[in-house]
Amino acid sequence: MKISYNWIKEYLDLNVKPADLAEKIERTSVEVDGVTTPSDGLKKIVVGHVLSLEAHPDSDHLHVCQVDVGEDEPLQIVCGAPNVAAGQNVIVALPGSRIADNVKIKKSKMRGVPSAGMICALQEIGFPEDVVPKDYVDGIYVLPEDATPGDAVYDYLGMNDSLIDLDVTPNRGDMLSLYGTLHDLAAIYDKPVKLDHPEVKEDGTAIADQLAVHVDDALSPQYRMRLVKNVKLAPSPMWLQIRLWNAGMRPINNVVDITNYIMLKYGQPLHAFDYDKFNGEDVYVRTAKAGEKLTTLDENDHDLDENDIVIADQKGPIALAGVMGGLDASIQDGTTTVAIESAVFEHDHIRKAAQRHNLHTDASQRFERGVNQAGVQEALDAAAQMMNELADGEVQKGSVVGSSNIPDSAVIDITLTHVNAILGTELTMDQVSHILESLGFEVAVNDDTLTVTVAVRRNDIHIPADLLEEIARIYGYDQLPATLPTGRMTMGTLTMKQRLMRATRHSLEGLGLNQAISYALTTEEKAKMFMMQDSETTNLAWPMSVDHAVLRMNVVSGLLDDIAYNSARKVKDVALYEQGRVFYREDGNDRPSEEEHIAGAITGTLMPEAWNQPAQPVDFFQMKGIVAAYLKDMVVNGDVTYEPNADMPEMHPGRTADVLVHGHRIGFLGQIHPLIAKQFKIGATYVFELNLQAIIDMPKQENQYDVISRYPAITRDIAMLVDDDVTNDQVVALIERRGGAFLQSVKLFDVYDGVKVPKGKKSLAYTLTYQDKHETLVDDAVTQAFDKVSKRLEDDLGAQIR
């Protein structure tokens, strides 16, 4: 809501600049989105009086006007507006002026005729289109007759006011009005505020003889109407129009404007009906019936829902209660009798109706948050009074009241000790009670206890904590001391799981992979790729897009999306890892279980190409090296083994391995299937994904000192020809098993399957290292062990030792 600085000053004696006032409001009440002064940035825009005009010789719509701008000679201005006429006072942008959007106006020629400036529409001097009175939307604006040519226009149009745009939180409905804001400011600045109260001059006959209302008070706890006869519809006086457009509302006519003005002033939405359009003299407040329809003021048709509250006459709905009136019974040219409604509607119904019909109006916004239930009649009276004063209406005697349930004030006990204990302050009883009284609350003090009777308008205050907020904010958060919690000591330590997760990230970063964070919501297809276990998908009931509709059951597909993003931007070398959750769901459960995974993906080269380092495209063994190094960092207890897996549909059947620890599968690694690469539009990519939770849960090796032998080691190399299907693992396992007591390590140093070996065979070569911890090894002992292992290789694996 945009609130006028000038309007505030009419009630409150403040000596602060608008910007300072705004900051104070922001620090003490509600957020401020900005402070604007409509005339800011405008220059040399004055009142002009159109002395005469004639048609432009070379145009069918331009006029050449002689305009008195308070100088010795009139200015000649060419104007294209259809509504320009002699005798009007108009807005003139003089040569050298600045209008909206910092546009500069210069002397010019229009189709050959000199034009010294421009006659402006309101939009051209910065008014938003939707606040410009309908009559002037398509043309220039006409100023009042008493405007003086040559004067700056700003004061005539209320443009020197400062408008403070309040962003009101859902709890502070009271701040959606001048009066509510004034109550807060009175407390903030500790100044008295004098609000005016209406005095209605009644005439004619009792309303009760002309109108009856029938109200379901569960839907509308208060429902009040007044009747004003013989109103004369006309444009509102300037001051009233200015109030409205400065608040962002379009002036329409005096009757409608009065209802809007009262809403801005009191926060009470009103509705004005044309009484003569009622069918009968009875008005009902009820829920809509199935099949009922309503055309609202904005000329949209609505199929009503049985949960919508409507105002109805004998024939049917005439308004969507608290949201928008109906077109049929609205104020239109020819209206003479106005029924003014001032009511409270149940907020939840209003909220849902506004959502259902996508009609979020100034009225619904206020009813949703709650209006001042103690001020419903006052707002009604104030509107009636104004219709009498500004539209010559005869206010009929009395009001009809369909329901009048005004809630009791909340009465809350709070102790000074509690206030200071929670806020961390040392406030005195006087300070606290003064703050609460300045908000308009009644306070009774008894020893340490304050009994606070809260003003009804503050429907957000129910419990002592609510009062604490009032005390704290009015006292000023800036004045609160800044301390740290004391009390019993607590340990701040990471759990083993958290430590291992950090270690995982550090390990992979050290191995050259950058951490990625991808989207956990993906497409159904990608969610189901690279599955490590069976699972149902978990789908959003109402996703924003198909791209983010299903919870991932793998991390790799997200990394492939990332690689695709990079690849599309010509970034060819990408090495990423991601630590994140996958979501597995069992049939019959609504909620998935969440499992921590760790995954990596590399495309292009890991080691950057350089002047002394050729590009070396990533391959299976590089990725395997990374996985092995990572698992070594995690010191899982048990052998890590790799078994070929040709069955994952998204993976290359010949270049994929399951990763096993102590025989348990914890994940996979390998090259993605070329068809998957094609689908993601990426090059050859190697990936791994491991169940991080499983790694965390596995027993870990303890660190233990192992004596480093002081005696020399002896190495022997062995090269052999074996069949192609004999694996390295088989050879190494056999050597380790049969290598004898002093075998320390077996290291593969060559693999060859080129032209020099027979078809179906490959050559493998290993270095065997022997060492004794306690004495120098004798050559003979090594030779013996080596011969033995060579024989076993020949016998068991059919190796030909070379």
Partner: protein, 348 residues
Amino acid sequence: MSLKDKLSELRQRGLADIKESSDLKDVNQVRVQLLGKKGPITEVLRGMRDLDAEERPKVGAFANEIRDDLANALAKRKEELEKAVLNAQLAKETIDVTLPGTPVAKGEPHVIQQIVDQIEDLFLGMGYQVLSGPEVEEDKYNFEMMNLPKNHPARDMQDTFYITKEILMRTQTSPMQARTLEKHDFSKGPLKMISPGVVYRRDTDDPTHSHQFHQVEGLVIDKHVTMADLKGTLQVLAHELFGDKFDVRLRPSYFPFTEPSVEADITCFNCGGKGCKVCKNTGWIEVLGAGMVHPNVLKMAGVDPDVYGGFAFGVGPDRFAMLKYGVDDIRNFYLNDVRFLTQFTKKG
């Protein structure tokens, strides 16, 4: 010519020869010539036989002195020449040290992770536990136990991805307040925790909105926790993340699960508080929401609000990173362009 004179002359000639030797081979030759078995000194010494017994030791000592001088001169010359050889070798080995170093593969932590880690470390040091909760939550924990019953208008503030009527993607890390409060045994000490994690909102991704982002929830519940403690804690957080120059201010706000509720602003990075475009001329930038835990939240979790109370806060690492590094599009965090990921290398 006396023997002594001979020796003196020998010394002079020898030293000149040594000086003239130009490489190691020369030096060796001179050495053999001067000091060898057939060399002049040996020869001179052989002539000692003819000397008086009185003269002999004197000449002998003199001869030894000369032999030592020559030997020393030879060694010195040899060292000089060796050094020259080495220097020549090193000169030949000179490389262009301005050629780039061989690149190594090195990964970086994600910028959001860096901020989360920094927050975690700060609060660990203040005795907080770090807890993580489910990303797929129950409506009960995400909303109801946070004092947001069904139909509460504030639910409109958060667009939610529902899976079923009761199961949803958590919209905040606040459900960890309820989950932790339910379990905590206050007889064992106060509850001090932070809970970092991923949260989800039903938003269309654009430069300032992401359907997935991060939050860190903080909660302290004890017998005597004050709002001043909240202010002090947030100040420490701002100083840790942004620097000591940054000030914190609290403003009233509204969250259903705290009362009083505040939003915390910190001094604008861009202008240092003077007022600029970034801070809309206020000098302040909103960074987090906080407040004193609402009694209803405590009650619903089975904690007596008359005995225990405290504060909670929620910070957005994404927003912090955007502010701290001037990142203008939140989607950068989730698209993982390596040119983006590798920009944030400053540790600590």
